[in-house]
Symmetry: C2
DNA sequence: CGCAATAATGTAGTACGCAATATAAACTAC
DNA sequence: GTAGTTTATATTGCGTACTACATTATTGCG
């Protein structure tokens, strides 16, 4: 029989993975009412915040590869939420801007986070605690390989 | 400008999503040394625990669709880690069993969770706290649609 | 003019959810 | 008790997404 460290129910990774998929499933009906998928919603959050972004900037914000973001933006453009334009002063770069429809969507999206929070959270304090905990874990993993090659 | 509830950095969903992908990335090199992907590893954890499972049981344990698990098992079978056999007493059902190679892999996998934990966690207490917190959130989302249909 | 840097695109493999299908078992009606 | 319906189980197909790797295009520097 398995030793306790290999029990599925003891794996934090499994809990995080499961929670991520459950959250995703909760968002899905709310977002499909807006015409967005979950990753598209995250990209829209970034754009509502900044209005205009380079593709590279968006990749950094979302921590995604350009190979992921490029087709994502292509779909969002064909849906009419964003416009892409190659920069005239640097022909390598592409600027992503909200369209009118994309800006209009922000108003409709305003109720979305609250709907999820009411499912997930019991108090403002819990929100803060969770945010701090998750941010801490992310920071530890993001920095560098832990044991290896110290610093 | 965005209202605070739409700020990307304030979204727990984004933090969970990001953490999940970071964990996944950390596991990848460890698991590819075993010849497994991350979801395959989770399936193996379940099998090491139970030796023999129906496809449906595995779907429930992992909380995955049969449409996800079926091709996953097909790949794992072609890799030689599991065997699938239609049950004689119920031709609808398929039983999944570990192969010899699959059983042998457990020994090599024993060091994997600890490697991640040393990256992620600072203490045993933190592990317990996180496990309780995440489990609680999962339970809330798993139960049913929150506001809807009372009860 | 080459060479390196940066950004965008393309490709292959895996994963996930949903819908449709095939087959088998169980249940209902008469 | 058999015919027809319903339920259960697994597989397949489709659309979207993420990752790693390779390729292409533009720019800036030596």
């Amino acid at each position: 029989m398995s030793s306790p460290e290999l029990l599925l129910s003891n794996q934090l990774c499994f809990l995080v993975h499961r929670l991520d998929r459950l959250i995703n499933a909760r968002y899905k009906p709310l977002l499909s009412a807006l015409g967005l998928t979950y990753p598209q919603y995250l990209a829209m959050l970034a754009l509502w915040e900044r209005q205009e972004l380079g593709v590279g900037e968006l990749c950094e914000i979302l921590d995604l590869d350009t190979g992921t973001v490029s087709p994502l933006l292509k779909r969002m453009e064909s849906l009419g939420f964003v416009e892409r334009q190659r920069r005239s002063d640097d022909e390598r770069a592409v600027t992503v801007r909200l369209s009118e429809a994309g800006r209009a969507l922000e108003e409709k999206a305003r109720t979305v986070p609250g709907a999820l929070a009411s499912c997930l959270l019991r108090s403002e304090a819990e929100y803060g605690e969770l945010k701090a905990l998750l941010s801490g874990l992310i920071e530890r993993l993001d920095e560098r390989a832990c044991g290896e090659s110290g610093l």
